[in-house]
Amino acid sequence: MYRQAKFTEKLLREKSVPGRTAYSLPEPFGEPVFIPDRLTRKELELPELSEVEVVRHYTRLSEMNFGIDTGTYPLGSCTMKYNPKITEELSALFSNFHPLQDVSTVQGCLEIMYSVQEYLKLISGTDAVTLQPSAGAGGELTGALIVKAFQKGRTEMIVPDSAHGTNPASAHMAGFHVVEIPSNKEGTVNLDALKSAVSEKTAGLMLTNPNTLGIFEKDIKEIAGTVHAVGGLLYYDGANLNAIAGISRPGDMGFDIVHFNLHKTFSTPHGGGGPGSGPVGVKKKLRDYLPVPVVECDGNNYYFDYDIPHTIGKVHGFYGNFAVIVKAYVYSVLMGSHLKKASEIAVLNANYIAQKLKDHYELPYTPLRKHELVLSCEKIKKETGVRALDIAKRLLDYGIHAPTIYFPLIVPEALMIEPTETESKEDLDKFIEVMITIKEECYKTPDLVKEAPHNTAVRRLDEVKAARNPQLTWD
């Protein structure tokens, strides 16, 4: 069994002792500056702690957190693969450059950006790339805004019911009316529904392939044909690219716009919620709509190209999350042609789990999966009252992070499992064994599962209370 560290760690404010300091700074050499009284700050209460107290506070908090370095993290659609340590060290080499430095003095930074643009073009089968979006959803919004600018007057964006929630949210933010289409019995796009949904109002279709069930949309060419036939554009949500990177390319499937999650497929750490990076690749006809600037090379020097005729503008104050882009670059050169092997093993690991667990849990739709699989706990719930949420919490007790739960929405009591290529067979076998044990617990000792977790820093939290009476600060 796993046992997480448990500290009763006070809040910074509760630890504060007036007069303590953790900073040290030189004296100013300028004279005092007169600030009008009405602008002068008279009250400010920040915590006052010594350096050792600050260090212990955050060290203890970190021990009450679980990362991919702690253990298996099969969070579906999040691609929690190991993050090679060298990427941290090498990205830090660039930490002191300012984004507005004269380009002649930051050619190395631009070379990395250019190289990542070229790499992503190659992987995705697109013709131009922007690195500016800060995360996957930022990439989606960028893509949707490009669709909007290109498709003047078209008002509808089609999104399957199995799509990530960011797809309809991004489309709506860009001003589209979202048209949701149902999935078919195989869990893929319902072609009939798509055909009746498309019209001269259709601006585009946003699609994940493989989809959120982990199933490859084998009719993708026909889907693309249907959307293109009415003048629509095809948008690729890159959250699931880890299944096919180096094997198959969205650009060859007919996608016009592709976003990448560098913090998923390209192994940059997720930082407990961010920063990520969500570059967007487009086909040639959309190149002139990309945000400014794009990095170009005149043969000798790299430069920022701001001369993009129909640019949608900018989606970040500067060039995006550069440090994350450097980490993805380092990963790309470390992996080289082994990227294909990573995808193969990611898919093998998911299918290994699917085959070993399909007799213990329900595996709706086709058994062949790509990088992830979605199990249903509906039968267990009917027979024992134990829900997917409880099973997820019980996994924590065994030192395994829970899968994504209750998603996609089309699978009842869903557990969405993505092992990635970096888990060993022993870790997969342990996960499988624990899943089977938990199922037995559901029937033998259901309360043990319903009351889980037992071994984490805190017991099950009352999230309803948190929402009903929100306390969002220490005041």
């Binding site: 050499f29 260090v55 993050n83 929630g165 933010m173 961010g274 500067f318 805190v458």
Partner: protein, 431 residues
């Protein structure tokens, strides 16, 4: 394949599930499989050499750049603590019981930002200041239903462009300034009808302080518009946050994050509690466990994209969580006295530099006669040439705004001798 352990187990695993690698990919039509030419993998040592070589094409310089990305001192222990991999290799804390460390750190970030800005609530981060501005404008529209948003004519062009990109259907109207750069309240009154919000920056993009934002806030409120202020959080060590503000945004990069060639930054987004249910982004709340322990969890998720889909308050999902933790570590380290101290060093040393530059014949600093914080404009009829001249001496001057003006930034990172190096260089410039 040191990151892919099962390469050696693949055959056994395939046998156990009675499949081949071809079977695994049999659902992808053959004409969609593409063998792309990727280079051979490299060893760590080779990669280091490659990156070192690229980095040699970058030049470390004495720099006076700011304009939205700032060089402030980062105490060593912050870098150490951020490298705790339990923090940085975690995903978003969807399972709160096993993620209390991140959640408490983000809850404390929200609390610290509210203490700093005087706002009631704060989300756990946006991408950067520019996208926080865009989200603020969209929030104003959700509240008012009008689609007109007022901005100052003296503001960061990058932020303005991001705002226009995010809100292509919003009418963006610029409000003018008086001789001292202050918001022209007469112009504001003329333009405010049917506006959803008014935005100003404090200090302004040109570095000077707006002296009467209360009047601006009152005009906004009298016309049912919300008032948003973009701030430099370091300045809040000595400058009072404006009390009429409904939304305060800014960039937290200056709080413990390196410049990193412009990213990751940290979008601060704080507002009055009346706006909470319409606020974008993730929020962490305090709650209790079944055993009565204090704990933290993401809350009010019914505003968010994974629940509300197209009706969500924003599409944001992955944010800048680790950057928010860095900012909290920084504020915990500085405390009240430390933040005041760093702000005081900035304002004093910036004024010192500004005056000395102004004393050099041919140079004017600043353009606007008002109290500045850490940035100020330097004007010279031939500034373009001066920029090149400084580069040749290994100095990166301020951010060039036009042919005759640049925006300089001085922080605690500049020593007195750095300033004299700049002054000597400028004095040596001859037309």
């Amino acid at each position: 394949m040191r990151y892919i352990p099962n390469v050696s187990e693949a055959e056994i695993m395939l046998q156990q599930i009675s499949m081949t690698t071809d079977d695994l990919f049999s659902d992808i039509p053959d004409n969609l499989k593409k063998d792309i030419a990727l280079p051979p993998p490299l060893s760590e040592l080779e990669v280091k050499r490659k990156i070192d070589y690229m980095n040699q094409k970058n030049q470390k310089m004495l720099s006076f750049l700011g304009a939205g990305c700032y060089n402030h001192y980062i105490p060593s222990h912050i870098k150490e603590l951020l490298s705790r991999s339990e923090f940085y290799t975690a995903y978003t804390p969807y399972q709160p019981e096993i993620s209390q460390g991140m959640l408490q750190a983000l809850f404390e970030y929200q609390s610290l930002v509210c203490d700093l800005t005087g706002m009631d609530v704060c989300n756990s981060s946006n991408y950067d200041w520019a996208t926080s501005l865009a989200e603020a404008a969209l929030l104003c529209e959700r509240v008012s239903t009008h689609k007109k948003f007022l901005i100052p004519d003296l503001m960061s062009p990058n932020r303005e462009q991001v705002l226009r990109t995010y809100a292509p259907d919003t009418e963006i109207v610029k409000v003018g300034h008086d001789q001292r750069g202050q918001i022209n309240t007469e112009d504001l009154k003329e333009k405010i009808e049917n506006a959803s919000g008014v935005y100003v920056e404090q200090p302004s993009f040109y570095g000077f302080l707006q002296e009467d934002l209360t009047s601006v806030g009152e005009i906004a409120h009298d016309n049912n518009a919300l008032f948003t202020i973009g701030v430099d959080p370091i300045s809040l060590g000595i400058i009072a946050p404006e009390k009429t503000a409904d939304i305060i945004i800014g960039d937290g990069q200056c709080l413990g994050l390196p410049q990193n060639f412009g990213g990751p930054l940290l979008g601060i987004f704080a507002c009055k509690k009346q706006l909470l249910r319409k606020m974008p982004g993730r929020v962490i709340g305090m709650t209790e466990s079944a055993a009565g322990e204090r704990g933290f969890a993401m809350t009010l998720q019914t505003r968010e994209q994974h629940i509300r889909r197209e009706k969500a308050t924003s599409n944001i999902c992955t944010n800048q969580a680790l950057c928010a933790v860095a900012a909290a570590m920084y504020l915990a380290t500085m405390g009240t006295q430390g933040l005041k101290k760093v702000a005081d060093i900035c304002i004093r040393n910036a004024h010192y530099t500004m005056k000395k530059i102004n004393d050099i014949p041919g140079f004017t600093a600043p353009v606007f006669d008002a109290v500045h914080f850490k940035e100020f404009t330097v004007s010279h009829p031939q500034y373009t040439r001066i920029h090149e001249y400084l580069l040749n001496q290994g100095i990166q001057g301020g951010c060039v705004l036009d042919d005759t003006t640049a925006l300089y930034c001085v922080t605690e990172m500049h020593s007195e001798s750095d300033i004299h190096t700049l002054l000597t260089a400028l004095e040596g410039f001859h037309v």
